[in-house]
């Protein structure tokens, strides 16, 4: 099977030669025949090889054509692919551009307040870093100005969020315009803004800047047909060189703001060591007030109100006092402001009202005729959502309770809901009194808005009687207006018999003040009331004046 192939011709003779040759041929003839045979073979070989070459060329040509066609198809395919790639690249570019835009948008959103468009707290931190570098490089000082709006919450709560937003947008614009080129402005909270500025070192420059903003902010803000009023207070802290530290500077500005808020409205306060102490004191006092509320260390003192002509007792006003364990009995000046700040004033109002009602019931049980009791009610208390329920639960004695409304601010910006609330109070039998009448700039308007039972003429007008000519004129005018509106008039702050007589002569209905009765604890009031009831003129020492 694996035997090597051996090309042995079957006949044992040279291939292609005839097996039998004519013996007649000579050697020369045979050689010539062989040569002719060989020539024929060569010719055939050449023919075959030429044919094979032509065939090969034809195949080559065929392959070339096929290649050319394949190449054409590839070129078309390539062009198609390039079109697809171009389209996809275009789409990708669009998608990338969209993604870039979205990224930029989200970065902007992450760094800005959506309402005002101002930088937010995050942006503030970044700006602080940048400005710190600039301050150090240029040898400048840096100030952080923390602005908090006064009365913003009141607007938001009583007029609505739309009004609140309107105010914030307005404030944002005022700040941006004031700070343009001078300071960085950011909104860091509901009604809080932080400004950063570099200055040469003269703090007066910063103060003037803050005060100019406070002035701009205090201008009325047009809102539909009406106007809104806010104002702002600034806490300012500054540092220079390596002492510039974001955390400390912003915290100090915040502390200064706390103090500014405590001093009133529209205040610019600078951070200092003394301020730090004042803040600690305020903080401590706030904590003490919280404790005092819990232990009910607040109690009412009372001041009698008498009829201006007959001097009969008409009413008592309950005044909040704090029986402090170390400092004795403290008046409102010692705690009202901080209690308002801590938003606990309504709880003090509540305690006073409750205890006053208890005292009134006790007096009446012992046969003392106190026709009416009045309590001061803060705007904070008035806006408490549970006020009416609370009052209903207390079962107020009929026609015996008056609320003295302290806050004229509330009345300036009151909304329909507030007047409805006042009506609900009237429906409960609570009489409304306007306190400090004549001191607020919209007092006359408030008469028609609040429709009080009684107005209490501001003590400054009363105390001017007899010495300041215009006081008499104004008291008389108020009395006339009140009479026209069937509103009773109480003269507050009556300190002398002369003032008492003048008030009576000018037509006031009732008198209140040191001349009548100093603020007394419940236990002492009964005695004073009996004295007056027994012998009014003598008890009051008004014989001469009357």
């Amino acid at each position: 099977m694996s035997a090597e192939f051996s090309p042995t011709p079957s006949c044992g003779e040279p291939v292609g030669q005839a097996s039998e040759e004519p013996p007649s041929l000579t050697e020369a003839q045979r050689a010539s025949a062989d040569a002719a045979q060989e020539a024929l073979r060569l010719e055939r070989r050449c023919r075959r090889e030429r044919a094979a070459r032509r065939e090969a060329e034809r195949l080559l040509e065929e392959k070339s054509s096929a290649l050319y066609e394949a190449n054409q198809r590839l070129a078309t395919l390539n062009a198609d692919l390039e079109t697809v790639v171009a389209e996809r690249t275009e789409a990708l570019r669009d998608a990338l551009a969209e993604a870039e835009a979205a990224k930029a948008r989200s970065e902007r959103e992450a760094m800005h307040d959506p309402l005002t468009g101002l930088p937010n707290r995050r942006y503030l931190r970044a700006a602080f870093e940048k400005m710190t570098g600039a301050a150090r490089a240029e040898g400048k000082a840096m100030a952080a100005l923390h602005l908090d709006l006064d009365r913003f919450k009141l607007i938001n709560d009583t007029i609505g969020h739309a009004a609140g937003d309107h105010v914030l947008l307005h404030v944002g614009r005022v700040l941006s315009e004031s700070a343009a080129g001078r300071a960085f402005v950011s909104r860091v909270g509901g009604d809080e803004f932080v400004l950063l500025m570099l200055f040469d070192g003269d703090l007066a420059e910063v103060t003037a800047f803050a005060e100019s903003i406070v002035r701009d902010l205090s201008l009325p803000i047009p809102y539909g047909a009406s106007q809104l009023r806010v104002c702002g207070s600034f806490g300012v802290a500054h540092a220079r060189g390596d002492a510039i530290n974001a955390g400390a500077l912003l915290a100090n500005a915040d502390r200064a703001l706390y103090l500014a808020k405590g001093r009133g409205r529209g205040v610019v306060a600078h951070y200092s060591g003394a301020l730090e102490q004042a803040i600690r004191d305020r903080k401590a006092l706030g904590d003490e007030i919280d404790d005092a509320i819990r232990s009910r260390a607040f109690e009412p003192f009372y001041q009698l109100r008498v009829d201006a002509r007959t001097h009969e007792v008409r009413s008592v006003e309950a005044l909040a006092r704090w029986r402090h364990p170390d400092r004795g009995v403290l008046g409102p000046g010692a705690f009202i402001e901080i209690a308002e700040d801590h938003r606990v004033i309504h709880r003090i109002d509540d305690i006073i009202l409750e205890r006053a009602l208890g005292d009134l019931a006790a007096w009446r049980a012992f046969g003392l005729d106190i026709p009416r009791i009045s309590v001061n009610v803060s705007a904070d208390r008035l806006s408490q959502s549970n006020l009416l329920e609370r009052l209903k639960a207390l079962a107020l004695p009929a026609s015996s309770v008056s609320f003295e409304l302290l806050e004229t601010i509330f009345l300036e910006q009151a909304a329909e809901a507030d007047f409805q609330r006042l009506q609900a109070l009237r429906d409960l039998g609570v009489a409304l009194e306007l306190d400090d009448f004549g001191s607020g700039h919209s007092s006359i308007l408030s008469l028609t808005q609040v429709r009080p039972r009684t107005i209490k003429i501001d003590r400054r007008l009363v105390q001017g009687l007899g010495s300041v000519e215009s006081s008499g004129v104004m008291v008389r005018a108020i009395v006339e207006i009140a009479a026209a509106l069937q509103v009773r008039v109480v003269a507050e702050g009556v300190e002398t018999g002369e003032q008492a007589a003048l008030c009576a002569a000018l037509g006031c209905d009732e008198l209140q003040g040191f001349a009548i009765c100093r603020p007394l604890p419940a236990s002492a009031l009964a005695a004073r009331a009996r004295d007056i009831q027994r012998e009014p003129a003598a008890a009051l020492g008004l014989e001469g004046a009357a």
Binding site: F5, T8, P9, G16, R45, R48, A51, E55, A56
Partner: protein, 181 residues
């Protein structure tokens, strides 16, 4: 059938018997193509069969013997012409395994109309391999010659036995240890 098989066949015959024999063989077989072949062409198998028949007569040698010898020669030419197929396999068995899975696959890619035979390889124990050869052409002897050429290429000695099978051959190849040689 691939032209290469024809051109290599003519070269083989010329190499061992001279062109005179080639010429005579063509004259006797009288193929339609006139004996003009090109390696990239495609020619009827009948022409090859006719030429083998003529050669067998001329040389008085059985056709299978001629075809077997040609197969052995052809393998040597394959290894010279297509070295890429020899980069992977390191011995006869692994090459034979690659014929069906690699070589014929590539052949079909280049010549979509090609009809290579099937050669299913299966190892039998450590030193054996069963090959199932199937073809539309009666060229079992060519296959056996190629296997022998392959063994020679890898310097191995093989014992090859075969028996007819439906459409081809069933072949058993056994590696012969050098010491037994």
């Amino acid at each position: 059938m691939r032209g290469l098989v024809f051109t290599e066949f003519l070269d083989f015959v010329e190499g061992v018997a001279g062109y005179d024999v080639v010429d005579e063989m063509i004259l006797r077989a009288d193929p339609a193509s006139g004996g003009a072949y090109t390696s990239t062409g495609n020619y009827p198998f009948t022409e090859l069969a006719a030429m083998i028949g003529a050669l067998s007569e001329l040389l008085n040698t059985p056709a299978p013997e001629l075809i077997h010898a040609y197969g052995k020669h052809l393998f040597g030419r394959f290894s010279a012409l297509y070295p890429a197929f020899f980069e992977g396999p390191q011995d006869t068995f692994s090459f034979l395994e690659s014929v069906e899975s690699i070589v014929h696959v590539e052949v079909r890619k280049i010549y979509p109309d090609a009809q290579p035979p099937a050669l299913k390889a299966e190892r039998v124990g450590e030193a054996g391999m069963r090959l199932e050869y199937r073809s539309c052409r009666p060229l079992g002897a060519l296959c056996l010659g190629l296997i022998e050429g392959c063994a020679e290429h890898f310097g191995e000695r093989l014992d090859v036995s075969h028996q007819p099978a439906e459409g081809g051959l069933s072949i058993l190849v056994t590696r012969v240890q050098a010491s037994a040689a």
